[in-house]
């Protein structure tokens, strides 16, 4: 770690670039309190009418509940599917474990626009387009690699001695896993939950390919709204989403350390 005083020039440059990086997130706050009926910045008058307007907009509220339910289902399924796989690949070390984990994380290497198109074409054949199960399956394709990666890292860094001690003392493999391994990888589990939830809740490209007039996720509804009219409604909604994201980030930081979970 380098702890010498930072030169003022670097400080100023870094500050300017931080301002640029955060500008689009900061401007939505004043706009969400705009009294105008279309977007202009700075607003000519102020009001809080756009926040209740979100809840009066049937399309947005329906999309919000779809997204929330979708993110919860996807997160639970990701944990249930990725945890056994991570255990098998890390602890049982079958032949070809390396190749298998590359295959299972490969969907992350593919651009989502290509993956979205590929999934669209195959799912259309099975009548899965614009259905909830179809959305769940599409989101799982991108959340599972994250879940597998974080859980496998968590598992491989655990000291194996405690597990061995428990099994020497007569605990069955399942008991060892439930009573020793799971509690010890708590931070990995929290990180995975947060990551899968945010990835699914924010996912927009795959969802754009998978949704239709019958079913929409919140990011897709917002995308179509902005495409037609960029009024302050989306700003109010954005503020709520940013607050939600910050809450999740803070919870993760408090429970397992932000740097440990996201910076690898």
């Amino acid at each position: 770690m380098d702890e010498r005083p930072v030169s003022p020039a670097l400080k100023l440059l870094a500050f300017l670039m931080f301002a640029f990086l955060l500008a689009p997130l900061i401007v939505v706050v004043p706009i969400s309190f705009s009294g105008d009926s279309y977007m202009m910045f700075p607003p000519s008058s102020w009001s809080v009418k756009w926040y209740p307007a979100i809840f009066a907009d049937g399309k947005m509220t329906a999309a919000f509940w779809t997204s929330l339910l979708l993110a919860c289902v996807v997160t639970v399924l990701s944990l249930v599917i990725a945890l056994p796989a991570a255990f098998a690949l890390v602890r049982l070390k079958p032949r070809g474990a390396e190749a298998l984990s590359s295959l299972f994380t490969a969907p992350l290497l593919l651009p989502t626009i290509v993956l979205g198109l590929a999934i669209l074409i195959v799912f259309a054949r099975f009548g899965l387009l614009a259905t909830f199960p179809g959305l769940v399956a599409a989101h799982l394709v991108v959340t599972l690699p994250y879940a597998l990666r974080v859980l496998a890292t968590a598992l491989s860094t655990l000291p194996i001695a405690v597990e061995e001690a428990a099994s020497t003392l007569g605990a069955s493999p399942f008991t060892v896993f439930r009573r020793i391994t799971l509690p010890m990888m708590k931070s990995g589990l929290i990180g995975t939950t947060a990551l899968c939830f945010l990835v699914s809740f924010d996912e927009v490209v795959l969802s754009l390919f998978m949704t239709g007039p019958r079913i929409q996720t919140l990011p897709v509804a917002m995308y179509h709204h902005v495409e037609q009219q960029a009024d302050p409604l989306v700003a109010a909604l954005s503020v709520l989403l940013v607050v939600l994201t910050l809450l999740v980030v803070l919870v993760v930081d408090r429970t397992s350390g932000l740097a440990k979970t996201f910076v690898k």
Partner: protein
Amino acid sequence: MTAAITMPAPVAERRSNGLALVVALIAPIALVNAFGFLAPVLNLARMSFYEVEPTGAMHEAFSLATWAKVVADTFYAELIVNSITVSLGITLLTLICSYPIALYLHRSSGTWKTILLVLVISPLLTSAVVRTYGWIAILSENGLVNNLVSGLGLERLRLMFNKTGVVIGLTEILMPYMILALLAGFGRLDPRVEEAASTLGAPPFTIFRRIILPLTLPGIALGCLLCFVLAVSSFITPKLLGGGRVFLLATEIYDQAIVTLNWPLAASLSILVLVIFGAALVLYTRALRAIL
């Protein structure tokens, strides 16, 4: 008898038991992978050879018609060149904007560093739609910049619905990726080397050019690869800030897939994106070998 129970099972039996267990444990993820990734991608490659009739109907065949169209039509050549040059420009700008932040983060410590890290990661976790909307507020006709400019008595600028808007928006959106990649590469920076150079009389800029920059090149290479690849394939921001007036590979794929419904053409364009990815990866590996 108790001894017999605790005796380990014969090796062969244990291995077959173990194999069955492994198969059972990875079956669910393998199923999702096969159905949601492998099959769709293989099908995509196959689809680029399907035949499309003038009516728009398509049928299974092995035809090079779509590929011939992509190669012959100068619109697609322009699309590819456009995508690559815009993405290269965005990558360079992202590097310039991210480097000071990464260097500053590397030099700070404690709570302050955590706060800065949260500020870098939070945009990453915020939807691209939200951040693009923020840019519309800043760049549009009645946006922040134009109201400032007209307040100064100058003529309003056209910052949106053109390449300028797309480049500004995507640069900001890709910055967190670049910062994290740079930070990962900054581990090689040894303060003692900088101090030695400074003691020997090197001015700060020389230290930066001769020591800091060369040592951080691997991080720069990784960040550039990541940003280029993400820029080529991004389409939410180009679509919203480009307003249908900026033609890139990714936006064309979406239009062909959803609007025109010419899936074979969308499939061939997707494969072109993957080819560009492969080329970028080869260049990156070469560059890395030259640096190290």
